[in-house]
């Protein structure tokens, strides 16, 4: 009896030690795990961090601080300044920066010999203009794009007509064609747009606007009815309110239509405009595909029920398909927003003046004159990237799921 107990005691101690060792091993592995994750996080974050920090330093300190990694990334608070954003003409002011722009100072590789040396291109860049342009392009492009592409996807997924299968295959096969393959011929096409095409495109946009109005009218009317039931509002007032909102919400589309009609009436080249940067990229096979896939997944019973109740196809589109498709609308909205905001190649080719140039092209100016004002450049970069980052952090979930379904732009 006694010997049995002793054995068990020994075994218990052994088991206890083994368990402790296993626990330690688990903890060590976990630490290594987190260590690796943190190291990778540093690698992924340091360029952005550097940009942010450098934008808050005056130019000469940006260079000087690069002597050591810590100083570059973790500056001392006393050095921080907002002058790159405020004082140095990012907002179109005239004063020269106080730090680092004194005569005789040398940073980068060129000494400053005259006051005009400090007025690099970046001081004369119309940042607000660029920002406004980018914003314009993005808003119009995204809203019109969502509407046009989802409509076509609805036609492909839900309506019945001859040749539907063939058409769908054709459109989906167009996904392969990259934008870069079309850029060179489009340059000529857009520079020498024929009158016929001008009017055709105007007609297309007018039809699109009309459709948007019908759809919006329906929706807004029903939502007003829901909020103010029964006869609280005389019909005329309700119509006016509806009309107001219809015109307001479809403003981007209306603006684009007006631009193109204007262009058709004036003739001439499409270069140096907004519509040349937007219109060619409204209809996009991949977005259509995403909508199409999603619409296929919505059960047809809803459609059938509404159809029997007398709804028109367009009404079915708005009343049934749209509310159920919020995820795919968010996905496409995000993809198109990223596309238009970061578009570089085409705007570079079709705008040479600053009136319609977007932010992306503006930043390529940094090469054109020395001395290079790194502080200002980083400030510019920050102002372009930080809004996107903030939007991303807020709408993370949508972003991640949309990017997952989109593949890649290398």
């Amino acid at each position: 009896m006694a010997s049995e107990e002793l054995l068990t005691q020994h075994q218990i101690e052994l088991a206890e030690r083994l368990r402790q060792r296993a626990n330690i091993r688990k903890i060590v592995l976990k630490l290594l795990d987190y260590g690796l994750l943190i190291l990778l996080a540093f690698i992924f974050l340091f360029p952005i961090t550097f940009m942010l920090v450098a934008s808050l330093k005056p130019d000469d300190r940006v260079i000087a601080d690069l002597r050591s990694v810590e100083q570059a990334l973790l500056p001392s608070i006393s050095d921080l300044t907002l002058e790159n954003f405020a004082g140095k003409n990012l907002w179109g002011g005239e004063e020269l920066g106080k730090h680092g722009c004194e005569l005789g100072n040398t940073f980068g590789s060129t000494p400053i010999r005259a006051a005009t040396d400090c007025e690099g291109v970046f001081d004369r860049l119309p940042f607000e203009r660029f920002f406004f342009n980018s914003l314009m392009l993005t808003i119009v492009g995204v809203t019109v794009g969502i509407f046009a592409n989802s409509l076509l996807a609805y036609v492909l997924a839900r309506l019945r007509w001859t040749g539907r299968a063939l058409f769908t295959t054709l459109i989906i096969s167009m996904i392969i064609v990259p934008m870069e393959a079309l850029v060179v011929p489009m340059l000529i096409q857009v520079n020498e747009m024929s009158t016929f095409l001008n009017y055709l495109l105007s007609a297309i946009l007018v039809v699109l606007t009309g459709l948007a109005w019908i759809v919006l009218w329906n929706v807004i009317n029903t939502s007003i009815d829901r909020r103010f039931p029964t006869a609280d509002m005389p019909v005329v007032v309700q119509s006016i309110v509806t009309l107001f909102f219809v015109v307001l919400i479809s403003a981007p589309l209306e603006y684009l239509t007006v631009l193109v009609i204007d262009q058709a009436l004036e003739g001439g080249t499409w270069l140096e405009t907004f519509h040349v940067q937007i219109l060619p990229f409204i209809a996009e096979p991949f977005s259509i595909f995403l909508f199409y896939q999603f619409f296929l997944g919505i059960p047809k019973d809803f459609d059938e029920a509404a159809y029997i109740d007398g709804a028109s196809r367009l009404q079915i589109y708005w009343r049934i398909i749209m509310p159920l498709s919020k995820p795919v609308f968010a996905t496409v909205a995000i993809l198109k927003m990223m596309f238009f905001w970061s578009f570089f190649l085409w705007p570079l080719l079709v705008t040479r003046e600053e009136t319609h140039r977007p932010l992306m092209v503006g930043i390529s100016y940094f090469r054109t004159e020395a001395p290079v004002r790194w502080g200002s450049i980083m400030a510019y970069a920050t102002m372009v990237i930080v809004p996107v980052l903030i939007v991303f952090l807020i709408f993370q979930r949508w972003f991640l799921s949309s990017m997952r379904s989109s593949g890649v732009k290398g």
Binding site: L151, A181, S342, M360
Partner: protein, 374 residues
Amino acid sequence: MFKKLSTRSKNRSRDDTPIAILLGGPTVMLMIVFILLPLIGGFQLSRTNKGFNAQEPDSVGWNNYNQLLSITIVKLPPLPDELPERTSSGWYSEDGGETLSFRWRNLDEIGLEDYEDYRIWERFSLFVNDTQYAILAKDPLFWTALQNTLQFVLIVVPLNTCLALGLALLVNQKLRGIRIFRTIYFMPVVTPVAVISVVWFFLYNPEVGLINEMIETLSFGKIGPYEWLQDPKLAMPAIAVMSVWRVVGINMLIFLAGLQDIPDELYEASSIDGASSVQQFRFITLPLLRNTTIFVVLTLSVASFRLFDQVQIMTPDGGPDRSTATLVWYAIRKAWNESQVGYASTITIAFTVVILIIAVAQRLIVRSDSALEM
């Protein structure tokens, strides 16, 4: 009687053609005007000598293609036994002993008059038994651009795929706060290429760039500063590394989705049977990720071929020794800087053909139909 009624209403083939045309017509027309027309126009342009001006172009038939694609390999004649004497300033000419400045001999001087439109492609040289072979091409820069683009793709695709898979595995763990890391690894994706290229341009600066600084700090000064964007051998890899940094997040998510599709029971069952994690990875994870991997590799390849933005910002002239000239860069250069739109269209067509080949390869390789669906 009821049956007949219901079949009648269903088979009353709702022909929605009119409304289909109305609703879908505008978008379809937009695609015809801005996708189909340029495709056809590009091909037509490539057979002309159109410049970026208002003049009517002339048709040049297939000359552009001839100019772009002509390539051949020749055996160079051996060096003459007696080379003219070289002085400090150059070669003596052969008659009279006058001093001339040094120059490469033209092709007709070494007996290759047949190839007068060609130039030697300087990236290639092959010695077999003391005979030198050279590649001659009518447009060496095109082949350089093609090679550069291929090099970029061949660096980016494996690196990106492996890293993405690794990150996906890391991020798939059930650790606390893992979602924060996932977001961080994804963050570079949302930065616009043009702008982040400027930041990286600064980071790659040989004297003051942070990358060299970090390497110096980590290696205690042993590993010298590199001229990332100025060295012909390093420029393209440098751009490749930046591109991988920016894009790996998306592929990480794709792999993550693929990983999460693998049922846990497979892992549980195999570990009961005594499988190690490495074995689990080899025999469960990898095979079941096959379609995902193919999808990633092929979309990444097509996307990488389109490299332009980073190159234009970081090395607008095509880089040291044209080492970062890519196909798209070359086409734009010809069209916009040199106003040779016809020729640029030819380059574009060549580029499109390459892309189509890759895309078709994807269709053929993938077995299941659900490759496009994620």
